[in-house]
Amino acid sequence: MSTVSSSHDLEHGHAEPPRGLTRWLITTNHKDIGTLYLLFSLTMFFIGGAMALIIRAELFQPGLQIVDPHFFNQMTTMHALVMIFGAVMPAFVGLANWLIPMMIGAPDMALPRMNNWSFWIMPFAFTLLLSTLFMPGGGPAGGWTLYPPLVLQTGQAFPFVILAIHMMGASSIMGAINIIATILNLRAPGMTLMKMPLFVWTWLITAYLLIAVMPVLAGAVTMLLTDKFFGTSFFNAGGGGDPVMFQHIFWFFGHPEVYIMILPAFGIISMIIPTFARKPLFGYASMVYATASIAFLSFIVWAHHMFTVGMPLAGELFFMYATMLIAVPTGVKVFNWVSTMWRGAMTFETPMLFAIAFVILFTIGGFSGLMLAIAPADFQYHDTYFVVAHFHYVLVPGAVFSIMAAAYYWLPKWTGHMYDEKLGKLHFWLSVIGVNVLFFPQHFLGLAGMPRRIPDYALQFTEFNMISTVGAFLFGFSQLLFAYNVIQTIRGGAKATDQVWEGAHGLEWTLSSPPPYHTFTTAPEVK
């Protein structure tokens, strides 16, 4: 039997990968594909970041200085699409690719060729999307939420945007199916569900969210397409439809989408804090149940994005209370992270710094979310910079910080080299200061009444906008340190041990650093 197995191995890819560029085009290896996803995400992070800096540069002073309003609107729209679909989501899928097989004792992802396809759709989809900036009439400028009837005024870019979103959706659905099949089918013997690392748990639940809502987004944008080109009346009141209906369908996707971007972050933080507090995670089971509860609630809160649009009173009340309910499982999580650190033997390496900053700053974003959940208060906050401040607090020092933490935490495992700790800490401090200088003043701007998505503003908003722009450039340019540090670590550096971190536990730390090309060719024993 063993001789059969080994000839079988050579025949079916357990041998060395092909060399050169071809390797990356045809690879079915979860580590290669994870690397591709992460590098793609980093590229998009800088492209989306450049757009953000154009926005902030224009907003440094009142009046129109740098770009015309139409281009400004293209930047706000594209910045969101690029950051959500190009930077944050692919980064989490990349982490899932690298880590899930190693964490559950699997040889690879369950459907490796589909895995390759999921990734390679993305660069093409973003080629379509970004190419619209160079078309007559420019890119989409009606906001990433694509509300009709405004979005139907988009020029030549329109079908490109819609079809690019279809491609991204297909990629996400396939990625999610692969993750579910991997987790449910490829766990090593003994790796029961309730022994899975939390990153695996949060991704399992996220994958379900993706499968449930990405097709709904596909449906919504298909209706936009047929309304524009084929004479349907889904969002035309004259034909018996309703533009508000788009908002309902869109946010049925959109709200679970924001949890798609934060649940894997919860998983990462739940892996990192125990390592550097040198204590097991406090309340493992409650973490799992809290994640599942948040996922469930995410399906029944969508209309809190639409309080001011007009809804029956019962709807306003239901969506208000359902939204506030999310604070309960989220509170459980924050409590558990703090309790894990309580009386721990803590050290503060870069991943831990990012993780602690996540807990504090994400919680600020959570609190401002709770304020926005109050329907009568939201009538004031809606479409102001307060909303911008809120979701950037959960997305940047939330989702993005967790990705940074994960990169520093697992980079030594992936590359076999330690990153430059001094540079990492410098990157952390510049980022954490930059991000707060950038987004904290936006709360005040919003409460004072500055609307979002405008290129010009009233004079009294000048100071806070200037401060915010200074923070933006500080934060933006500090990310070059991150890119430099990552590239240097890939190229070389001090040798990392197999366990890397003194307090690290889990199957991935039993492998060599870097791990073998095929993680586990036979199933490891899990006790």
Binding site: I26, A110, P159, H166, A176, I177, F229, G238, M245, H248
Partner: protein, 291 residues
């Protein structure tokens, strides 16, 4: 290599690298670029090239998988991965249809009654926008978009189509029993009957569309009724077409002697998909045609 050899229980099976996914990405990109170009008023060359490339990809990729499967390379674990994959793919399709059903329910429960002045919310809408509009279903809205039309009657062709699809659900199960009991003639007859019923359904659906456009003046542009009617039945028809093509392939593979009573997931996946289009049709019949 026999099946028993390939299923070394102590060893994972990992499919080797493949050119098909990257070819699929290029094909999809060409197709989308072609689609966008055509919608913007350009030619259809790119679209046709994209479609051809997609077809080549499907032949090539599925062909590779079928050959590997027939060589017995796939382990039981791989089989389970395929099952999870297909199952959740079908669920994602269900959610795609849910978006359109949601649009139908929203229009009928909220937007049309509001346009007709129902509730405080709607009263203002009606008096300010279209004071003379009375809510009804079917409707093409206060502006009578698309002009006069008659709705589709449920108890004629659609009812027959319901019977056809339900019968095809029976024939495919009968074929499955044939496969499990190693009764090849029953497998082939059952599959052939299912494929025939599928294409019969599609022909009748095409006839119904013709009838709608030419005699009822019911078109895709007939306001919200026409939009929901044609988008829901149209996407369903597309899925029946895909399902019927899948079943045809399964029929051809059965003729070629593929599948054993123990291992025939391709057949089961096709059957799952067929039952899924069947169930969607029942929803359509009740909510689009009947109620």
């Amino acid at each position: 290599m026999t099946q028993a050899q390939a299923h070394a229980p102590d060893h994972y099976y990992v499919p080797h690298h493949s050119y098909w996914p990257i070819i699929a990405s290029v094909s999809l990109f060409t197709l989308m670029l072609g689609g966008a170009t055509l919608l913007n008023g350009g030619g259809n060359t790119l679209l046709l090239v994209g479609l051809t490339l997609i077809l080549i990809t499907m032949f090539g990729w599925f062909g590779t998988v079928i050959r590997e499967s027939e060589k017995g390379l796939y382990s039981d674990q791989m089989d389970r991965s395929f099952r999870w994959g297909m199952g959740w793919f079908i669920f994602s399709e269900v959610m795609f249809f849910a978006a359109f059903f949601g649009a139908l329910f929203y229009a009928r429960a909220y937007s049309v009654p509001w346009l007709g002045g129902e509730t405080e919310h709607g009263a203002l809408t009606q008096s300010l926008l279209w004071p003379q509009y009375e809510a009804a279903w079917p409707t093409n809205g206060p502006e009578k978009i698309g002009g006069f039309f008659a709705p589709m009657h449920p108890w004629s062709l659609p009812a027959i189509n319901t019977l056809i699809l339900l019968s095809s659900g029976v024939t495919i199960t009968w074929a499955h029993w044939g496969l499990i009991q190693e009764n090849r003639p029953q497998l082939l007859k059952g599959l052939a009957a299912t494929v025939a019923l599928g294409f019969l359904f599609l022909s009748l659906q095409a006839y119904e569309y013709l009838h709608a456009y030419q005699e009822l003046h019911l078109t895709l542009g007939s306001g919200i009724y026409g939009s929901t009617f044609f988008m829901l039945t149209g996407f369903h028809g597309l899925h029946v077409t895909i399902g019927a093509i899948i079943l045809t392939v399964i029929l051809m593979r059965s003729l070629a002697g593929h599948f054993t009573p123990q291992r025939h997931f391709a057949f089961e996946a096709a059957a799952w998909y067929w039952h899924f289009v069947d169930v969607v049709w029942l929803g359509l019949f009740v909510f689009v045609y009947w109620l």
